[in-house]
């Protein structure tokens, strides 16, 4: 067991280092010059001021030292929780910008990932056995899973937001409120959350339902299922075995899908004007904001790694074969 997790942790650490390095490299090798952007925006009109201001901003952004040193500084700062100053939102520190946005993104991502996976698997499993469900859920799921997040988001905003007027279409909470710990404010937050959540939930739900349905059918036709039935085991028991077996590939699928769902959340946030990381990324890219971009990607990389690790742990818990294999390996 220790060896298994040791190896996993080592791989994750390695992935983290590589990801952080790439994350540092990519913006720097993008064409463009963030300091020039600063100078343009602050409309430095006096030619004599250009050189000193350039020097000033390069120092603030830590661009005044050789590349290798920038890289080392980057790591050093990272461990102190310092991700530099945003170019686009100068002079706000990147950490502040991200901590303001992360709660919104997490509040969208976690429930939509977990609930869609859970609900998708349940419904998929049911669909595999009921003709009427199969005929309704399956086509609906195909449509949903093939819908781009953005498109579904626009449809929802238009139908439930603009036409039906049930939900607000923009913002993290009403524009006439200030955050407080009151029931009214929490209800307001929830009302603004529901549409972006739904568009993420529905798309992912479709995918999981289809996957589970196919897996269950496959499992029910496996030898062990026929054998159990031949022995006279109750159908309920057979189904439960099939479900548990089918769950495993779905878990692996969840690990693989995380990145896609995160990307979907970013697009969805833009559609709903939701104050998460989505619009930050978009603007960071167009404004050559190295530091914000690095910070946001770092957060995403960390999140995906942690989630994957959690799935690894869960895998060990739900699949006795992994446990047995590990015990065999360590013996």
């Amino acid at each position: 067991m220790r060896r298994y997790f040791g190896r996993k942790l080592f791989i994750y650490a390695l992935t983290f280092i590589v990801a952080v390095t790439i994350n540092w490299m990519v913006p720097r090798f993008m064409p463009g010059d963030p300091v020039l952007r600063m100078l343009t925006r602050t409309s430095v009109s006096n030619p004599d001021a250009i050189a000193p201001m350039r020097a000033y901003y390069e120092k603030v952004f830590g661009l005044d030292v050789p590349l290798w040193k920038q890289y080392l500084n980057y790591w050093a700062e990272l461990f102190q929780g310092n991700m530099g100053v945003s170019v686009w939102l100068f002079p706000t520190p990147v950490t502040d910008v991200i901590t303001g946005a992360v709660p919104y993104t997490l509040a969208l991502l976690l429930p939509s990932i977990l609930l869609s996976w859970w609900a998708g698997n349940k419904v998929g499993a049911l669909a595999a056995r009921r003709k009427w469900l199969d005929n309704s859920v399956l086509p609906a799921s195909y449509v949903l899973t093939a819908t781009p997040y953005m498109w579904l988001g626009i449809l929802l905003a238009w139908s439930l937001g603009l036409v039906a007027g049930l939900f607000p279409i923009a913002g993290g909470y009403s524009f006439d409120r200030q955050p407080t710990w009151s029931a009214a404010f929490l209800a307001d937050l929830l009302a603004h959350w529901i549409l972006p959540f739904l568009s993420l939930f529905l798309v992912a739900f479709g995918g999981w339902a289809i996957g589970m349905r196919n897996l269950i059918i496959y499992e029910l036709e496996a030898d062990y299922a026929s054998y159990l039935e031949a022995l006279g085991a109750p159908r309920r028991l057979v189904r439960r075995y099939a479900f548990r077996n089918a769950l495993l590939p779905q878990l692996t699928g969840l690990a693989l899908q995380l990145g896609v769902i995160v990307a979907g959340a970013l697009v969805t946030e833009i559609v709903f004007g939701y104050p998460g990381l989505g619009s930050l990324i978009l603007n960071a890219i167009t404004n050559q904001d190295y530091f914000l971009l690095q910070g946001v990607f770092l957060f995403i990389v960390l999140g995906v790694l942690i989630a994957n690790f959690a799935i690894d742990v869960v895998y060990v818990l739900v699949d006795p074969r992994t446990r047995i294999g590990m015990q065999g390996g360590s013996a």
Binding site: L36, S43, S45, I50, Y56, L89, F167, I169, G273, P275
Partner: protein, 573 residues
């Protein structure tokens, strides 16, 4: 299993029902909600959008890029510019006058105070002007021709000039806000141009309330000097400016009445205005919007063949501006006068020069100019080559995502191709376009930074400013060096508006611009403004009895009189 399925359905249904019940309850509750509950009563709150494209991050009035209203609602200039009368009107100043050949005296109003209670005095004005001695302050070139600012007494400031640039000075007077010395003098030079200046202390009618990633909230101050001095009172108690994630979101909010004034570019707004959606614009029919600035096709004149005036003129004749105005914009903009001067400056257009030297869309004429200039299609690819036989292959760049400009650039490229000039429209991200424009690494681009001001001098300064630097940050992006024209621009800066030489100098500049064609004025970008009158009425419009101040919340427009819009709107009964 069956039980669990039911359980799941029940949970989902509950979630959906609770959530859908919430907003309904909320809508009913908000108008009656007490102000003390951290909420803004709808009938006392103005919702705006169209200025901020990201989280508010700076309240520093010295440096552009501050939160909506920082200058205008909090910090105020000495004068406002009145675009109807084309003259300055006193604001923080009671009056300003030339008290000598090289001396200008400003008298401040009595009883103007900062929001921390300290009085606004001549020392603050002197301090603000002297901030320009810091080279990184955008208005530092002021000190090339201003020699001293002296506080004569608490309410009088005397400015002494080494070079009396009347137009440029008047431009400075209304474009730059006064900051409190007692707050700012504690800051270092570098701090002054880089501080975020949270919770700004200003003289204006509003003060900082709160902000978050998607909004900026201002709250009305108890006492504002103009209430007493000018009998002006800003009506909204709160102003909530919504940072846009996209124009579509702004349109949705406007249609729902959750936004009172949207200064976003909303494509197809003509349909909304005509379709009884409760949305109005300044004009009830085309062009719907006032003109805010001139969109220009800017050739890089340091590169052949754009370095040839004949070639630039041929380009000017090739662009089908009508198609841009009608096809791309649906008539919410106006085609530009060939001189590029905005409609408010119509009286300065020298009509004889404009008719003699002006250009219009005429492909045949463009072809003729090209042929006369020696541009021929020598390799038979359908496009002309330079007189010395080099192939021409140009790129026109506009920022990706600026859909109106992208469409317009396609029209421009098609027009140029029809004249035989090979041009392709390309759409890099906006940062890359900025870089290319600043560094001069482009063939053709579109820019509209020649905006509304007190004087055509700002326009000609934009067109002709010299010397051409390696990096051009705000003017002369075409990098056109014409010492004679620059001499005239400087002369214009020194000429008083009522001097006959003012008009003749502008006429001479027009002639140079139209014959040399350093850049090509195409259309007037609109002052996008869509209002919903559900909560606030009496918006500025072209209607007979309506106010005529600009219905716009963009930064830099407050000091063009838009601040008065806030004193004129009325809560709907």
């Amino acid at each position: 299993m069956r039980g669990r399925w039911k359980y799941l359905v029940a949970v989902l249904a509950t979630v959906l029902l609770t959530a859908s019940a919430c907003p309904a309850k909320d809508d009913a509750a908000s108008p009656a909600a007490p102000a003390g509950a951290g909420q803004y009563p709808r009938n006392e709150t103005l919702y705006t959008s169209g200025t901020q494209w990201g989280p508010p991050n700076s309240w520093n009035p010295i440096i552009p890029g501050h939160a909506m209203g920082t200058v205008g609602l909090v910090y105020e200039p000495l004068f406002l510019f009145d675009p109807q009368a084309i003259k300055l009107t006193p604001w923080l100043a009671e009056k300003g006058e030339w008290t000598g050949a090289k001396e200008y005296t400003v008298t401040l109003r009595d009883g103007v105070a900062w929001s921390d209670g300290k009085p606004l005095t001549a020392e603050d004005v002197k301090y603000t002007v002297e901030l320009g001695k810091i080279k990184a302050v955008p208005y530092s070139p002021l000190w090339n021709w201003l020699s001293a600012a002296d506080a004569v007494d608490a309410r009088t400031v005397k400015f002494t000039f080494s070079d009396v640039r009347v137009q440029e000075w008047e431009n400075w007077l209304y474009e730059n806000p006064i900051v409190p010395k007692h707050v700012w003098s504690a800051r270092s030079e570098a701090d002054i141009t880089t501080t975020a200046n949270e919770k700004p202390i200003g003289s204006g009618p509003y003060q900082y309330e709160t902000h978050s990633q998607d909004r900026m909230v201002w709250k009305k101050k108890d006492a504002w000097w103009a209430t007493k001095a000018l009998n002006l009172d800003v009506k909204p108690k709160y102003i909530v400016d919504i940072a846009n994630s996209s124009n579509e979101v702004a349109m949705g909010l406007l249609l729902q009445g959750k936004l009172d004034i949207s200064n976003n570019f909303l494509p197809g707004v003509a349909n909304l205005v005509n379709g009884n959606f409760g949305i109005t614009t300044y004009y009830p029919e085309a062009p719907y919007m006032l003109s805010a600035n001139t969109a220009m096709l800017i050739p890089n004149t340091t590169k052949a063949p754009m370095s040839d005036a004949a070639f630039r003129r041929a380009m000017a004749y090739s662009v089908d501006t009508t198609k841009i105005v009608e096809g791309v914009y649906g008539k919410i903009v106006k085609a530009s006068n060939p001189t590029g001067l905005l409609p408010v400056w119509d009286q300065f257009v020298d009509q004889t020069v404009a008719t003699q030297n002006g250009f219009k869309f005429d492909t045949a004429q463009a072809k003729k100019i090209l042929a006369d200039g020696g541009y021929k299609d020598t390799n038979g690819d359908g496009f002309v080559e330079t007189p010395d036989g080099k192939a021409i292959d140009l790129k026109l760049i506009v920022p990706s995502g600026w859909t109106d400009w992208m469409e317009a650039s396609r029209v421009i490229a098609a027009g140029l191709q029809a004249s035989g000039i090979k041009v392709a429209a390309e759409f890099p991200d906006s940062g890359a376009v900025d870089d290319a424009r600043t560094a001069g690494k482009f063939d053709l681009l579109i820019n509209n930074w020649a905006g509304l001001s007190n004087t055509p001098w700002t326009y000609y300064n934009y067109v002709f400013q010299m010397p051409v630097q390696a990096q051009q940050f705000g003017t002369n992006f075409e990098r056109y060096a014409n010492p004679q024209a620059w001499e005239l621009v400087q002369k214009l800066a020194r000429t008083k508006t009522d001097d006959p030489a003012y008009k003749t100098t502008i006429g001479e500049l027009q002639k140079i611009q139209l014959t040399e064609m350093p850049l090509i004025p195409l259309w007037y970008n609109g002052m996008w403004s869509q209002v919903n009158s559900t909560v606030w009425t009496n918006w500025p419009s072209a209607a007979a009895n309506a106010p005529k101040d600009f219905p716009c919340t963009w930064n830099n427009l407050w000091e063009l009189g838009a601040i008065k819009m806030l004193t004129e709107i009325k809560p709907a009964a």
